[in-house]
């Protein structure tokens, strides 16, 4: 096989970043994709905010859909927030010292996630569809991805819950590609895979 043919048959390597606010379901979605394509999970899921405080990666995820083969690296980012208060963790049952430690790690994680943005090829911006989507963090992340010309998909998550409202997300972000999912139940996941394959084609 010539090197040209070999290059063409080699799956494209894509850094797939999971961005979004805290507790939007980024790790749940990363785990779903990891299980589907690599039989592995990326990280631990928790109801306590800022469970993911370091960037977590799952490499060599062999993804194939819509005739597209990709070598994905799933990069689960700490949730981005403009404030961190230890008392929020105490409300979830952590001791004062645990809460303080978590808060310090969370602030470092937010900075890490922001700095890593330039290394991402395709981004999934996950929004909790049960909350109103007007948190400035969502607009800030999307605006920066647009500015850096990174392909991205807006993913309203938790659509299996009765209080979810996809319409309000679509209305708020009408100019963007929106693929609603339930990362927990798998609803909408095939449509998301097709769109990831499509977005990956835009990456040089």
């Amino acid at each position: 096989m010539s090197w040209r043919l070999w290059l063409r048959s080699k799956p494209k390597s894509i850094n797939l970043g999971f961005y979004g606010e805290v507790n939007a379901g980024k790790t749940t979605l990363a785990n779903k994709i990891g299980r589907d394509w690599a039989n592995q999970e990326v990280g631990i899921v928790s109801e306590i905010p800022h469970e993911t405080r370091n960037i977590q990666k799952l490499e060599k995820v062999n993804f194939a859909t819509s005739g597209t083969k990709l070598d994905l690296t799933l990069i689960d980012m700490p949730g981005i927030a403009s404030s961190v208060n230890p008392s929020d963790f105490i409300k979830h049952g952590l001791s004062a010292s645990e809460a303080m430690e978590r808060a310090k790690e969370a602030t470092r994680g937010i900075v890490e996630a922001i700095k890593y943005l330039e290394n991402v090829d395709v981004a999934l911006v996950i929004i909790d569809a049960t909350r109103t989507p007007f948190d400035q963090v969502n607009f800030t992340i999307l605006g920066n991805l647009e500015h850096q010309k990174k392909p991205f998909i807006l993913v309203p998550n938790k659509i299996d819950l009765p209080e979810s409202n996809v319409r309000i997300v679509r209305d708020a972000f009408e100019n963007y590609t929106v693929i609603p999912v339930s990362a927990l139940q798998g609803d909408g996941i095939e449509a998301l895979y097709d769109k990831i394959a499509e977005m990956a084609k835009r990456v040089r």
């Binding site: 927030a81 403009s82 961190v84 208060n85 963090v137 800030t140 605006g143 309000i168």
Partner: protein, 116 residues
């Protein structure tokens, strides 16, 4: 806690370098001032503000900021607030996190509740 609201005209910050602008904002917000910036932040300035804010959180008095950029639309006249003309139609509110609750509803109404 008493909070002050400062309306910052374009002329106050437009000569500042990007990092100086962020330092200016944070220094005021950390002194319990709620800022309404006529010269709204770009999305990359917002991200820079979030990043720099993380370095200032002391987990005691300062827990971060709330920010909200609002596209006022073409009909909005800044002259009503600042007394002079401005072509800028996006303004940004930055406040100490504990100072305000900011919400925007489906109709585009921006509500700012200042906490005690």
């Amino acid at each position: 806690m008493k909070y002050r609201v400062d309306f910052i005209p374009f002329s106050e910050v437009h000569d500042l370098a990007p990092d100086e602008k962020i330092r200016y904002i944070l220094s005021k917000v950390m002194r319990n001032t709620i800022l309404v910036l006529e010269s709204g932040l770009t999305h990359s300035e917002e991200l820079n503000l979030i990043e720099k804010t993380m370095g200032k959180i002391d987990y005691d008095d300062f827990f971060g900021v709330k920010l909200f950029s609002f596209d006022a639309g073409n009909d909005f006249k800044w002259t009503k607030l600042f007394g002079k003309g401005s072509k800028n139609k996006i303004f940004t509110i930055v406040a100490p996190n504990e100072a305000v609750s900011v919400t925007k509803d489906e109709r585009g109404i921006l509500s700012i509740r200042i906490n005690d």
